[in-house]
């Protein structure tokens, strides 16, 4: 037990929890009992709040723990997180403003809502909603792994601290909705920026400079028998590096929790501005990634076989106790923000695209919000059970699968924002083919290092397709190609068979509407926030 660290961690955690409960009164909502208020914070967030909210949402505690762990274990390959988060913003900038506009004109809350309106197909919308929920659940569970790594390092074992932390989170998310993580994100991110700034100046100085850190890393990888690791990429994993970065970038804003953050912003300018402000987090992530090498140079050993404890262990070794406590709180609180947003997003998918579509068609706005609130609790309980009852490794595997399957909604959600060319039947067929292909590919990836015969990672060896090569490629990327090909062929077939297509409820100008536009206001169900 490390008393100083635990006291500081607990204090900061309690402050943040208090803020979470008070957030219900922040920015004075007239009525929290609608999804626009509870689930989207009144759709009124400006540039700063959006920056903290989306930054806190996308760059999760798990990322901060797992990326350095990957670098620690494999070297250069783990740095894919940097090109991934550089490429993503210019790629989605013009796409997300279209999503924002059409969502505001038609009062949409989830990506599946959009698919419903655009393609007139409740079935396709249901598939998109289920994909979103399934992909998000393990992601929430992973946030717990982030907290667990910190608790372990402080000497707190057992499940009780974890359950308490998540119960508090569940309670204030239930009460305050999206306002809670938005407010907490300020504290979380300020703490993380502070800790990392100190870490990248203080730790290299202690370890004899960057040069010796990288030399120590090289020495470590040279000594291992694994040909795939090392401080640089080799001929066989470059394609994996590129397709993984690109595929992850395509997937990022298909996740329902990313969409929630975007739709909560006040207008199109806020989104565009954030596309050039959010890369500040990518810099942070890149620096955090390098902590993996610092851990090698400092001779840090993970607790047991859990390489996720690398960063907490490093902080524990090099920082004075009080500052290590601050750093642990940063990671712990860092898990709360994304976990809250993800559970809200998954809950909205359930209430909008399953409950309202299939269970109670005439549900009022208040009933919808109540269902979402309860669903957010269920989702979090599910995540806790995932971690407690099943091996954590299983959640990691599931999250890997989650990334591959969420990519399969790209043709209907992402391309759908630009073109109505696809036939709903083709999109459904493409989705099914992409899902199947993704599963088959992942099933056939072995990882001897972690004793996995199947689902051992995302790097699919092309030799399995009969190519005489050692090159690997991101499984999700291949699955997406299958999806697109089938969707195109399916569309041709459906047209040839004269199969009826769903009606398109959107008009071209809907994709450009902005705040202040009469169409945006007349269709809003709630009064705009003061």
């Amino acid at each position: 037990m490390k008393t100083t660290e635990i006291v500081i961690f607990t204090l900061l955690f309690l402050v943040v929890s208090g803020m979470g409960f008070l957030a219900a009164r922040w920015r004075r909502p007239g009525d929290l009992a609608t999804l626009d208020e509870w689930g989207l914070g009144g759709r009124s967030f400006g540039s700063w709040i959006t920056w903290f909210l989306i930054g806190g949402d996308l760059y999760t505690a798990y990322t901060f723990v797992a990326v350095p762990a990957l670098i620690f274990g494999a070297g250069a390959m783990g740095f894919y997180a940097v090109p991934y988060t550089v490429v993503v913003y210019p790629m989605v900038m013009l796409v997300l403003v279209r999503l924002w506009s059409v969502s505001h004109v038609h009062n949409l809350v989830t990506p599946a809502d959009f698919v419903r309106v655009r393609f007139g197909s409740p079935t396709l919308a249901l598939l998109v909603a289920i994909t979103g929920i399934v992909a998000t659940m393990p992601y929430i569970a992973l946030q717990l792994i982030g907290i667990e790594a910190v608790l372990k390092t402080m000497g707190l074992t057992g499940d009780l601290p974890l359950i308490i932390a998540f119960a508090i989170l569940a309670a204030y998310t239930y009460q305050s909705g999206l306002r809670a993580p938005a407010l907490i994100a300020f504290v979380k991110d300020s703490l993380i920026y502070l800790v990392i700034l100190v870490a990248i100046i203080y730790i290299p100085a202690k370890l004899g400079g960057w040069g010796s850190i990288f030399d120590a890393a090289k020495a470590k990888f040279d000594a291992t028998p694994n040909p795939g690791d090392g401080p640089l990429l080799n001929a066989n994993n470059q394609l994996q590096y590129v397709t993984l970065a690109f595929g992850s970038a395509l997937a990022l804003f298909l996740y329902p929790h990313s969409v929630t953050g975007i739709l909560a912003s006040r207008n199109r300018n806020v989104i565009k501005r954030n596309m050039s402000a959010l890369p500040a987090y990518s810099l942070l992530l890149g620096l955090i990634a390098l902590l993996g090498y610092m851990a090698i140079a400092a001779g840090v050993k993970p607790i047991g076989k859990d390489s996720n404890t690398i960063v907490p262990q490093l902080f524990d070794n090099v920082f004075p106790d009080w500052f290590a406590g601050v750093a642990f709180a940063a990671v712990g609180i860092g898990a709360l923000v994304p976990a809250a947003i993800m559970s809200i997003a998954a809950a909205n998918l359930f209430s909008r695209n399953i409950y309202k579509e299939y269970i109670k068609r005439d549900a009022t706005a208040a009933q919808e919000a109540t269902v979402s609130k309860i669903a957010s609790l269920v989702v979090k309980i599910g995540a806790v059970l995932c971690i407690l009852l099943i091996e954590p490794q299983f959640s990691i595997d599931l999250q890997l699968i989650g990334g591959v399957i969420i990519l399969q909604t790209l043709p209907s959600v992402g391309l759908g924002l630009y073109t109505r060319w696809f036939h709903r039947g083709g999109l459904i067929a493409g989705w099914a083919a992409g899902m199947a292909a993704g599963m088959v590919l992942l099933y056939n990836i072995a990882n001897p290092a972690t004793n996995h015969a199947h689902f051992g990672g995302s790097a699919f060896p092309l030799s399995q397709l009969g190519f005489d090569t050692k090159i690997t490629v991101y499984a999700g990327f291949l699955a997406l190609i299958v999806n697109l090909v089938v969707a195109v062929l399916g569309t041709f077939v459906a047209r040839a068979l004269k199969s009826t297509d769903g009606p398109d409820g959107t008009r071209p100008e809907d994709y450009f509407a902005d705040q202040g536009d009469p169409r945006v206001h007349e269709l809003e169900t709630t009064a705009p926030a003061a």
């Binding site: 250069a76 940097v82 960057w210 401080p231 596309m275 890369p279 008009r507 100008e509």
Partner: protein, 73 residues
């Protein structure tokens, strides 16, 4: 159904500067550009510092596009 309508006004996102967005999408995905140890910067191999520097490229092009297409209110 999808009868084409006259677009009310032009696309407010349209700008020749949008092509700039391609640079930070394509360049970070070409490993031969950065997959090297030398030259080092403050002891950090090129692989790491150059990829971090691509962030500046991303920020610059998205900022230019934002300024060219923002809606003045």
């Amino acid at each position: 159904m999808t009868t084409p309508r006259a677009d009310r006004g032009r696309n407010p996102d349209r700008s020749p500067l949008n092509w700039l967005l391609l640079l930070p999408i394509v360049i970070p995905l070409i490993p031969p550009l950065f997959n090297a140890d030398e030259p080092r910067l403050f002891g950090i191999p090129m692989f790491y510092w150059l990829q971090l520097a691509f962030i500046i490229l991303g920020v610059t092009s998205t900022t230019l596009v934002y300024r060219a297409t923002r809606r003045s209110r």
